[in-house]
C-alpha cells in the first residue's frame, strides 16, 4: 500500500510541473507592467531630475526583485541577430522597440550603441551648464516645463521603432533644445545619438534574422519562480513562496494561509455531510425502486442537481437573511462583526459562528449531495440485479444483510471514484459562494485578485487548488484500494 501511495505521488510530479508551467505562462502573459505597479507614486518635490531618477532606481530595484531582468524560460528561440542580453532591459516598451529594430536591421551591436547613447542623453542634467541666475529668474517655470517636454519626448523616442517617427522625434527634440543656449551640451549628445542611429541604417544586416538560434539559460524566471534565488528575494514555489501580492506587497503565502482555513472547512464539511446524507437516501431509493418515494426523491434530487448554486444562495439570502421577510440568519461574514468575545472557549466560538455557517453550508452541500445520491441510486440498482444478490436472497438472508453487506459494498466503488470530481467542484464552487456570503476564504480572494489584476495571487490560487484536487484524487484512490480487496496495487 505504501509503495502504491509513493508511486501515485511520483505520478503527480509531471502533472504538477505542467500546472506550474501553465500558471507561469498565464502570469507572463498577463497584461500590464508589474514593475509600474510596484513603483510607488513618486514623492512630490520640484527637483524633477532627482524625481525621475528615483523612480528609475525604484523600477530597477523592483525589476531585479521580481526577477524580471532574467530570461523567461530555460530554452528560448531567437534569431542570430538578437542579443541574449535584451531581457535585461526592464521597460517593456523599450524592450519591444529595440526588438523591433533588431528584426528590421539585424545589427545588435549598432543598436546597442544607439540605445546607450540615448540613455546617456536621457540621464543628462539639462540644467548643469545653466547660469543659476537664469534658473531662479522669472523664466524658471518655463524652463522646467521645457525640460519636462524634452524628457517625455525622449521616453517616447526610446519606445519608437519606425524610421519616420524616430526622425520626427529627433527634429522635435532638436527644436526644443535650440530654445535655450545652455542646452548646448545636450545638443551635442543628441548629435551623437543621431549619428549612431544613422550607423544602424548604414550597417543594416537583416539577413541575420533568417538564422534561428536556440538559447539555453540555467538561471531564468521560471527556475527562479520554482526554486527561488537562494533566499535573497524569493525562496521559490517549492519552498512555499509564491511571491508578493501586487496590491498589498505582502507575501502571498501568508495571505493564503490566513484564508485557506475557511475554504477547507466548508469544502470538507460539505463533502462529509453530502456523503453522510446521500448514502441512506440513494440506497433507499434504489431498494424501493418505482415506489412513490423513489419517484419524488428522484425528481427532487434532479431539480437540486441542476439548480445553480449562486441562484439558490441568493434566494436563501433574500428569504432567510432579509429583515423584511425572515431574519433568521446574518447575511454575510463568518463571525460576529465585533469579533468573538474575549476569552471565550472553542465551543462558544462555534456557537457564535453557527448562524453564519448554516446558509453557506447548505449551498456548499446540496449540489454534491444531489449528485452523490443519484450516483448511489444508479449503482445500487445495477448491483441489485446481479446474480449473487438473488443467491443471497435464496439463502434466506434478511433484507438488511443483503442490502448493506452484499449490495452496498459493491455499489460503493462509483461513489468513491466520483470523490475525485466532487472535491474540485466544491473548491471551484467556493469562488461564487464565498463572494455571495462574503466568507474570507480563497474563493473571495480570487475575485479580489481578478478585480485588482493581482496575477501572482491568481496563479498561486490556481496552483494550490490544483494541488488540493490532486490530493483529493489520491484519497479517492486509497479509499478505493481499502474497499476493494481485489485491488492490490502491485
Amino acid at each position: 500500500m505504501l509503495t502504491y501511495i509513493v508511486k501515485r505521488f511520483l505520478i503527480f510530479i509531471p502533472t504538477l510541473i505542467v500546472i506550474t508551467l501553465l500558471g507561469f505562462m498565464i502570469s507572463v502573459n498577463a497584461p500590464g507592467d508589474p514593475v509600474e505597479r510596484m513603483v510607488s507614486a513618486a514623492e512630490s518635490g520640484d527637483a524633477l531630475n532627482s524625481q525621475t531618477k528615483n523612480q528609475q532606481e525604484q523600477a530597477q530595484y523592483w525589476t531585479h526583485k521580481l526577477g524580471l531582468d532574467l530570461p523567461v524560460f530555460y530554452v528560448s528561440l531567437s534569431s542570430f541577430a538578437q542579443s541574449d542580453t535584451l531581457h535585461k532591459i526592464y521597460d517593456r516598451n523599450e524592450r519591444e522597440a529595440l526588438d523591433r529594430l533588431i528584426s528590421k536591421y539585424g545589427n545588435w551591436k549598432e543598436i546597442q550603441t544607439y540605445y546607450q547613447q540615448l540613455n546617456v542623453f536621457d540621464e543628462l542634467q539639462f540644467t548643469a551648464t545653466a547660469d543659476s541666475a537664469i534658473l531662479h529668474g522669472p523664466d524658471r517655470n518655463k524652463i522646467l516645463d521645457q525640460i519636462t517636454a524634452i524628457k517625455s519626448e525622449t521616453i517616447q523616442l526610446k519606445a519608437s521603432y519606425e524610421d519616420v517617427i524616430i526622425q520626427n522625434k529627433f527634429k522635435e527634440i532638436e527644436q526644443m533644445l535650440q530654445m535655450y543656449p545652455f542646452f548646448a551640451g545636450a545638443q551635442q549628445q543628441l548629435k551623437s545619438v543621431q549619428e549612431s542611429y544613422e550607423q544602424i541604417i548604414a550597417t543594416a544586416s537583416p539577413w541575420k534574422n533568417y538564422i534561428p538560434q536556440l538559447n539555453f539559460y540555467s538561471n531564468n524566471q521560471y527556475h527562479r519562480w520554482l526554486f527561488g534565488d537562494g533566499g535573497k528575494f524569493s525562496k521559490g514555489l517549492l519552498r512555499g513562496d509564491f511571491g508578493i501580492s501586487y496590491t498589498t506587497k505582502e507575501p502571498i503565502t501568508e495571505v493564503i494561509f490566513s484564508k485557506i482555513g475557511w475554504t477547507l472547512f466548508f469544502s470538507i464539511l460539505s463533502v462529509v455531510l453530502a456523503y453522510f446524507v446521500s448514502i441512506p437516501i440513494g440506497v433507499r431509493a434504489a431498494v424501493k425502486r418505482g415506489s412513490h418515494a423513489d419517484k419524488v426523491s428522484s425528481l427532487l434530487l434532479f431539480v437540486l442537481y441542476s439548480m445553480p448554486a449562486f441562484w439558490l444562495a441568493t434566494l436563501l439570502l433574500i428569504t432567510f437573511a432579509n429583515p423584511d421577510v425572515l431574519h433568521w440568519f446574518p447575511a454575510s461574514g463568518v463571525k460576529p462583526v465585533t469579533g468573538y468575545e474575549e476569552g471565550v472557549g472553542f465551543w462558544n466560538k462555534v456557537r457564535a459562528s453557527l448562524p453564519y455557517i448554516v446558509l453557506p453550508a447548505i449551498c456548499y452541500t446540496y449540489s454534491s449531495f444531489a449528485f452523490l445520491s443519484r450516483t448511489i441510486r444508479v449503482s445500487m440498482l445495477e448491483v441489485l440485479t446481479q446474480d449473487y444478490i438473488r443467491t443471497a436472497k435464496a439463502k434466506g438472508l434478511n433484507d438488511k444483510q443483503i442490502i448493506w453487506k452484499h449490495a452496498f459494498r459493491n455499489a460503493l466503488f462509483p461513489i468513491i471514484t466520483v470523490f475525485g470530481s466532487v472535491f474540485p467542484a466544491v473548491i471551484g464552487g467556493s469562488v461564487i459562494l464565498e463572494t455571495i456570503f462574503t466568507i474570507p476564504g480563497m474563493g473571495s480572494e480570487t475575485i479580489n485578485a481578478i478585480h485588482t489584476n493581482n496575477y501572482p495571487m491568481i496563479i498561486a490560487i490556481l496552483t494550490i487548488t490544483s494541488m488540493l484536487t490532486l490530493i483529493g484524487f489520491l484519497i479517492a484512490d486509497i479509499l478505493y484500494a481499502l474497499v476493494d480487496p481485489r485491488i492490490s496495487y502491485k
Binding site: P14, T15, V18, I19, L22, G23, I26, N29, A30, P31, L77, S79, D99, R100, S103, N209, Y210, P212, L214, F302, V303, Y305, S306, M307, P308, F310, W311, T314, L315, L317, I318, A321, N322, D324, A331, S421, P424, A425, I427, G428, G429, V431, I432, T435, I436, T446, I447, I450, N453, Y455, I458, I459, I461, L462, T465, S466, T469, L470, F473
Partner: protein, 443 residues
C-alpha cells in the same frame, strides 16, 4: 454498404422513437426549440424600436431596418427632419400610426421614470409628453419590474436567452471538435499504431521548431500589428504564417523520407498517442474548472463574450474526449471493424464510416450535459462580473444586480429561473439521449 447505411439510419430511428417515448425528454426538446426561436427573434421581440411607424406621412420600420436613421419630408413646407432610431423618443411621439414590439423596452436602455427597483406589482409611472405623471399604460408596463438603472427585466431576460444559448452551443462546438478528435485519436491509435521511421520523426521534430520560427516567431510583429489593425488583416497574416509553417514542415517531411534510406534511421518509432492525450486530460481535470477559466479570462485583454466562449470551449472538452476514447477502444475490438480491416478498407474509411458514427452517440450525451454546464459557467462568470463586458445584459448579470437590494426579489427569481430551466432542459435532454441511445435500456 447499403445494408450498413440502412442499419445506421435504423439505429438512429430506433433511438428517436425511444427518445420520443421518454415524455420528459421530449417536452424538454420542445422547450429547447421554443428557447431557440426566442433567441433568434429576441432583438425584434423586445426592443424599444416600433415595428411600424407612420409619422408625418412617412412610413418607417425601425425595428427591422438596417440603417439607424430616416429622413422625413414635411409635405406642407418641404422641410426635412431627421429621425435617429436609437435615440428617438418613440413612446412620446404623436405618430399617426405606431405598432410597438410586444415588449417595448430594449435590454440596456433605462426608463428613468421607473428606475431604482420598481417591482412587477409596484406602481409604475409614465410621464406624458406634456409633463404630467400618470399611471403606466398597460401597454408600456414593466411586466417583471426594473433594476436600479431602470432597465426592463423581461427584455433583459429575452435578450439574455441569446447570449446563453449562443455560449452553450458555440463553446460546446469547440469542445466537441477537440474532444471527439483527440478522444478518437487516442482510442483508435492507442500507443502502438502510429509509428514512423526515426528519420521522419527526428526530422519532423526539428522541422516543427524551424517551421514555428519562420512561420510565427519571425513574423510575430507582423502578426501583432495586424491584430491591432483589423480582424480580416489579422486573419490574412495568420493564414500566411500558417502556409509558411506547413510548407517548411512538409519540406522536413521530405527530408525525413530521404533520410529513411539510411538503415539506422529506418528503425520505427512508436508514438504513444494514447498516453500523451490521456495525460493531458488528467492534467486538465485536476484543475478546478471555474478557477482555471477565471484565471485565463483574467489575462484576456478585452472583455468579450466570444473570449468567454473560446475559453469555456478550450477547457471543457475532457469529458467528451474520455467518452469518445473509451468508445473507440471498445469499437476497434469489435468484429465488424476487424472484418472491415480484413476486407482491406482504408483507415480513413474505417474511422469515418464505421467507427465514428457508432462512437459519437455517447459523446452526444456528454455534449448535452456540457451545454448545460457551459451555460451555468457563463452565468456564474457574468454573475461575478468577470470576462463578460459590463454593458451586456445577461441572465447572470441581472441576477447579480439583485444582490445589491434584497427587496428586489424579481431580479433574483426570474433570471435565476431562466438559468435553472435552461440548464434543467439540457440535463434532461442528456438523460433522455443516454437512455435512448443505450440499447440495453430499450424495451
Amino acid at each position: 454498404m447499403s445494408i450498413e447505411k440502412e442499419n445506421n439510419s435504423k439505429n438512429f430511428k430506433g433511438a428517436w422513437i425511444q427518445f420520443k417515448k421518454n415524455r420528459m425528454a421530449y417536452y424538454c426538446y420542445k422547450i429547447l426549440i421554443f428557447l431557440t426561436v426566442l433567441a433568434v427573434i429576441a432583438p425584434f421581440l423586445a426592443t424599444d424600436l416600433p415595428w411600424y411607424c407612420k409619422y408625418k406621412g412617412t412610413r418607417m420600420f425601425p425595428a427591422f431596418s438596417f440603417s439607424n436613421n430616416c429622413e422625413l419630408k414635411d409635405p406642407q413646407n418641404g422641410q426635412t427632419e431627421r429621425i435617429q432610431y436609437d435615440i428617438a423618443d418613440w413612446k412620446h411621439m404623436d405618430a399617426e400610426q405606431i405598432v410597438f414590439a410586444p415588449i417595448v423596452y430594449s435590454p440596456s436602455k433605462s426608463d428613468y421614470d421607473n428606475s431604482d427597483y420598481v417591482g412587477p406589482r409596484d406602481k409604475q409611472v409614465f410621464v406624458t409628453s406634456d409633463g404630467k405623471t400618470i399611471d403606466m399604460p398597460i401597454r408600456f408596463r414593466h411586466w417583471l419590474g426594473t433594476n436600479k438603472a431602470g432597465e426592463d427585466v423581461l427584455s433583459g431576460l429575452i435578450n439574455g436567452t441569446r447570449v446563453s444559448l449562443l455560449i452553450g452551443i458555440l463553446s460546446m462546438s469547440i469542445a466537441s471538435l477537440i474532444g471527439i478528435f483527440l478522444g478518437g485519436l487516442a482510442g483508435y491509435c492507442g500507443d502502438k499504431k502510429l509509428h514512423n521511421s526515426r528519420g521522419v520523426c527526428w526530422s519532423m521534430t526539428l522541422g516543427l521548431v524551424i517551421a514555428f520560427y519562420y512561420g510565427f516567431f519571425m513574423r510575430s510583429y507582423f502578426l501583432k500589428d495586424a491584430f491591432s489593425v483589423s480582424n480580416s488583416e489579422a486573419l490574412k497574416q495568420v493564414l500566411i504564417s500558417g502556409i509558411i509553417f506547413s510548407m517548411v514542415l512538409f519540406l522536413f517531411f521530405i527530408v525525413g523520407k530521404l533520410l529513411e534510406r539510411i538503415p539506422v534511421l529506418a528503425k520505427q518509432i512508436y508514438i504513444p498517442v494514447d498516453s500523451i492525450i490521456s495525460r493531458i486530460i488528467e492534467i486538465l481535470i485536476s484543475m478546478p474548472l471555474l478557477i482555471l477559466i477565471i484565471s485565463i479570462s483574467a489575462i484576456a485583454k478585452e472583455k468579450s463574450i466570444v473570449n468567454v466562449m473560446i475559453i469555456i470551449g478550450l477547457t471543457s472538452w475532457t469529458g467528451i474526449a474520455r467518452l469518445t476514447r473509451a468508445e473507440f477502444l471498445r469499437i476497434t475490438t469489435l468484429d465488424y471493424i476487424q472484418s472491415a480491416k480484413a476486407l482491406g478498407f482504408k483507415e480513413r474509411r474505417i474511422i469515418f464510416r464505421h467507427a465514428l458514427p457508432n462512437a459519437i452517440a455517447p459523446a452526444l450525451v456528454a455534449i448535452a450535459f456540457g451545454v448545460a454546464s457551459a451555460i451555468l459557467t457563463e452565468s456564474a462568470l457574468s454573475f461575478l462580473g468577470i470576462g463578460v463586458p459590463p454593458d451586456l445584459v445577461t441572465w447572470g448579470s441581472l441576477l447579480n444586480s439583485g444582490r445589491e437590494k434584497f427587496q428586489a426579489w424579481w431580479l433574483v427569481v426570474f433570471p435565476g429561473l431562466a438559468i435553472f430551466v435552461t440548464v434543467t432542459v439540457y440535463n434532461l435532454l442528456g438523460e433522455g439521449l443516454r437512455d435512448a441511445l443505450d440499447p440495453r435500456l430499450r424495451e
